[in-house]
């Protein structure tokens, strides 16, 4: 079974990327070629094989629950593209009813 059909503009939208027509024209055949290579994985027998998500045996470790110093608000805000009143400013997220 071949999976190498990809709708580049549709997937780019899922990834919140707005592509130009030129970019779609370049990426479409490149990504099809890459997926064509990746499709070879479907021929491998992986019955009964456990997945590896992570190559070292450390799982779900939590830090000690003790208070500690976080970044100062000033340090966080210094990189914000737009800010007001000690907060990061963005366009309206919820539309009017």
């Amino acid at each position: 079974m071949s999976h190498s059909h990809i709708d580049v503009r549709y997937v780019a939208n899922l990834a919140r990327l707005e592509l130009t027509d030129e970019e779609v024209a370049v990426f479409q055949p490149q990504l099809e070629a890459i997926l064509g290579h990746v499709d070879a994985l479907t021929a491998i027998d992986v019955t009964g094989i456990e997945p590896t998500a992570h190559p070292a045996p450390v799982f779900g470790r939590l830090r000690a629950d003790v208070p500690h110093q976080s970044l100062e608000p000033r340090a966080v805000l210094q990189n914000a593209p737009d800010q007001a009143q000690g907060q990061i400013r963005v366009p309206k997220v919820v539309t009017d009813a």
Partner: protein
Amino acid sequence: MTIASLRTQLLAGETNPAALLDRLAGEIATRDAKTGAYLSFDLEAAHAEAAAADLSLPLGGVPIALKDNINVLGQPCTCGSKFLAENYTSPYDATVVKKLRAAGAIPFGRMNQDEFAMGSSTENSALQTTRNPHDPERIPGGSSGGSAAAVADLTAIAALGSDTGGSIRQPASHCGVVGLKPSYGRVSRYGLVAFASSLDQIGPLTRSVEDAALILQAIAGFDPLDSTSLDVPVPDYLSGIHDGVQGLKLGVPKEYFGDGIDPGVRKNVEAAIQKLAAQGAEIVEISLPNTGHAVATYYVIAPAEASSNLSRFDGIRYGHRTPAPADILDLYKKSRDEGFGPEVKRRIILGTYVLSSGYYDAYYGRAQKVRTLIRHDFETAFSRVDAIVSPVAPTPARRIGAFANDPLHEYLSDIFTLSANLAGIPGISVPCGTTDFDGGKNLPVGLQILGPHLGEAKLLRIAKAAESL
């Protein structure tokens, strides 16, 4: 000039950290205009640290350059991307930077790289071109190309890079320097801008194996700020480094010596293996049968993780924001389209696709299982041999622009390095000669040595023997 010889001079009072920084700045001014390894450096900040340098520490007074994806408080951290070239100054130090400072080193210089470490040539930097010091028409390799080129060009004493699929070892090989990727979990990634979190490791690029050991000694160890960091003791990487290879078994994987290798690379690597045999190593042919699946596995897993990690670059909290968005969705989409270069977009799209509903099991789930098979190949091999020796890359450094429109071809050239990341094992590239290739003369070739998880001490010992051949 190695760290070891520099330390001798510093302790003898023949030079001092401030003079050393001025000399490096002079060398950057004269040579780096051509090489393009440095994105920026802050001489004033480095001088302030030099004035307080404690020369009694293991790296006391030694300037160390950093790939531009490692955060240093108050400095830029562009990741080679337009996205972070504006509106970003690091608000904190990476753990490796704190550890380098604790060992007396002075962070100095921000090194060019492929954008977000995605690439093997440094051509994917959105900010500038870095050239190979051995031939300016050629790539330095990547993604830690600036780090490798500066160490080779003598504009840096040593540098840190990051390696997700070969990004320390391959540029080290192309530039004729030593590059070490430690075991997964050995070095904290806190403060390294994440690319693929189950693969990324930070490591040194140096002019000698001993220097790589010195830096690893300083940066290795447990860090509660990285949940994948291993809480296990750090051995002394220098004490056994001169012990040689007498009695060690070195595996030569037949799958790594196939038809795709340049004859000059093969000749140099085989000669290095023969010389290790002459020093008493036993050479054993082994098989890593799933090698042929490694590129496909990697180019599912790495983009999948990247697509998730790079979702943080949304134009809200830092970095590029499009100037006049219609609404919040428009802000995300335009900011990301304007800020990211083509390779980053390709990998985000690929990663999003393989994780999307209906394709997850066929691609990502399956790749994780093949990753287990690749890991088992190495476990089986290391039950028979102490280490594995191979080429780092199929060819020496290629010409700039050669694969401009063929990303798959470029991905396939990562074949010998990316399995170590999939398996989480350490690997080192050591210079093993030069060869002519595609019109280029005397281009460096690297020998790759791979060891079992947390086997860095033995790896460095074998590398030291290979270096002195």
